[in-house]
Amino acid sequence: MKEAYLGIDIGSISTKGVIIDKDNQILASEYIWTEGDPMGAAGKLISALEKQFDKETYQIVATGTTGSARKLVGAMVGATIVKNEITAHAVGTTTLYPEVRTILEIGGQDSKIILVEHGIAVDYAMNTLCAAGTGAFLSSQARRLGVEVEDFGRIALTSKHPTQLAARCTVFAESDLVHKIQMGHTKEDIIAGLCRSVVSNYINNVGKGKKILSPVVFQGGVSKNIGVVEAFRKALGCDIIVDENGHLMGALGIAILAGKANARRTFDFSVEDMAFRTREINCGRCPNNCEIICIYRDDMLIDSWGNRCDKGALKAGIRTGVRTMAKN
């Protein structure tokens, strides 16, 4: 049996998973929508990966989770490593592109910039408080314009005179956009303007004060949009590398980290058939009222978090008698 490592990246919009071997070669990969149900998405992802995976020759010995639901899904699949997406992306990209100096990343709800020197991340920034200029903004505007977000890039490239749009804030950009539509700007100009506003927003907010050096790798869901890639190329004046697996970088990074770490636990594909359930309880043992999230597998409490002190600590492994709805 050869060793293999599983990495799962559960973002706000999409869920990504890869299985790699010892030489970081991708054995299986999958990309699906989270649809507001991270646990369900992770279950679907695992069953899709299982179909591509050669169980006879390989065995998954380490599992890592990353992305905004990393803790939840990490508890569900029994991850050996749970890490934030910034580190995972940096590791994934620097493994594939050791020369990279700047990593631009725009996802569904967040955007980040990672500066790299000699293959090591030396500085990073992430958007705060506001989702302006992320994938969520683009898809909501696509709906307004009646265009599929997947076609955005193609349409944007046909424009010759991109419309100027206020880029600072989603709310302003949106009212500006409505105004420009009613003024009679063409759809492709507006779409190209949107792509440009995403880029200028990114450079002014996330990239503020950071020196962007080439080679530049652009990844995350929005990197699939060639309109935005083109706008970045124009704004930065250098070539932008977009990997065909750019959307998998986080999952790849966490799989690599799982392989490097010492912890080992054989991954069991049967988790996809188990029923998981979460419940929020208010501790109530002091006025802070911590919201404690409990995760149950069948009716067994497997993990809990959210408490600020020992008063709210719950022991894993307690059978609570809380009945779980069977899957399906």
Binding site: I86, D123, Y124, A125, T128, N289, C290
Partner: protein, 358 residues
């Protein structure tokens, strides 16, 4: 004789034991210890505050409500060098509108810089106060502040490296309790020495060159652990030596002064920019010069003085190649987003350090 006043002062970091000591011994009045800050405090504060005011205003307002409900009839509120100077006035108005009956002593109204005027405020709290006793208690309070700050500094520098987890916390908590219960200067000194001795006895597994992170930022948010969502504890738990210069000892009691600090950072800024700006820039440069692995800058949303120093920090970061993480706090209580950023920051500086050491 007028009935005894029940004085309260909103909770700031660990300094309420000092205020308690001062009120009880110097002013000979009763002190109502405001309840610890909780989510409820923040909710009440945020509900009754203007939306765009900074988070410390909301937290303090909520804490004042807590204190009034606990029985206080006199509130004391500090002056400040930024918008803080106007806060007492506005908070008094809001609380009176909510129907609370109390007296507000607004120190901003007495802050002329002359000690005589501060004494007027004290006279209002207790007209028959003895000047000699007041001065003596004040000196003892300064000592207590210094002790609290020193123990806290030592705690955050070492608690991430203890061999048996929980030992440092135990000593630290007991020390804070001792300070709260102190009845005379002997208690203060004994509590301090006991904590020092017990810290000495704890076994540490500290590498020769641990990761060192300097925490700087806005006065209230950086000092109050509830408001910064226990950032220093989180860093320490990851195995970081956490340094924070900003505390009452350094910023107020032994402050070197705007001019002295300004000279040392003249290549970065030439003017004073706000209450803690010079100190924070100086502090960041100091950390950079001393080879720290990273700097974390915190502020509450909308804090103008701290927003102003961010470009200067970016220059320091570039010149000394030291990463700076910028964190903005509002009245949120979920720490998931904070954890993501802090963890990534930790991963980054630790990977950097490994490479540098090879």
């Amino acid at each position: 004789m007028a009935r005894e006043r029940k004085i309260s002062f909103p909770m700031v970091a660990n300094y309420n034991s000092v205020v308690k000591y001062f009120v009880e011994h110097g002013l000979n009045a009763a002190f109502i210890m405001p309840p610890k800050l909780t989510r409820r405090t923040v909710e009440i504060g945020a509900k009754n505050s203007p939306d765009y005011v900074c988070a410390p205003f909301k937290t303090l307002l909520g804490n004042m409500v807590d204190a009034l409900e606990a029985g206080a009839d006199t509130l004391v509120m500090t002056m400040g060098l930024c918008r803080l100077g106007y806060y007492a006035e506005l908070q008094e108005q809001i609380l009176k509108d909510l129907g609370y009956d109390f007296e507000m002593i607004n120190l901003a109204a007495y802050s002329t810089g002359k000690n005589r005027d501060y004494f007027k405020a004290v006279r209002r709290l207790n007209p028959r106060v003895s000047l000699g006793r007041l001065a003596l208690t004040f000196a003892e309070c300064l000592k207590m502040v210094e002790h609290i700050d020193e123990i806290e500094e030592e705690y955050y520098r070492n608690c991430g490296f203890e061999r048996h987890p929980g030992q440092y916390k135990k000593v630290y908590d007991r020390f804070l309790l001792n300070m709260e219960l102190a009845r005379n200067v002997r208690d203060i000194e004994a509590g301090y020495l006991k904590a020092k001795r017990e810290f000495q006895a704890i076994l540490l597994d500290k590498p020769e060159q641990p990761l060192r992170v300097g925490v700087i930022g806005e006065y209230f948010t950086v000092m109050d652990e509830f408001s910064n969502l226990y950032l220093e504890q989180k860093l320490a738990d990851m195995g970081v030596e956490v340094h924070r210069w900003m505390n009452l000892t350094h910023r107020n009691i032994h402050y070197q002064g705007q001019k002295n600090l300004g000279v040392q950072i003249s290549e970065y800024c030439r003017y004073e920019m706000g209450p803690t700006s010079t100190a924070n820039i100086w502090c960041a440069k100091n950390y950079a010069v001393h080879g720290f692995d990273g700097i974390i800058h915190l502020k509450s949303a909308g804090c103008t003085p701290e927003i102003d120093i961010m470009p200067v920090l970016q220059n320091i970061s570039r010149d000394y190649k030291i990463p700076v993480l910028y964190l903005t706090y509002d009245s949120q209580t979920s720490d998931t987003g904070l954890m993501t950023r802090v963890e990534a920051f930790y991963d980054m500086i630790s990977m950097r350090k490994q490479v540098v050491q090879i």
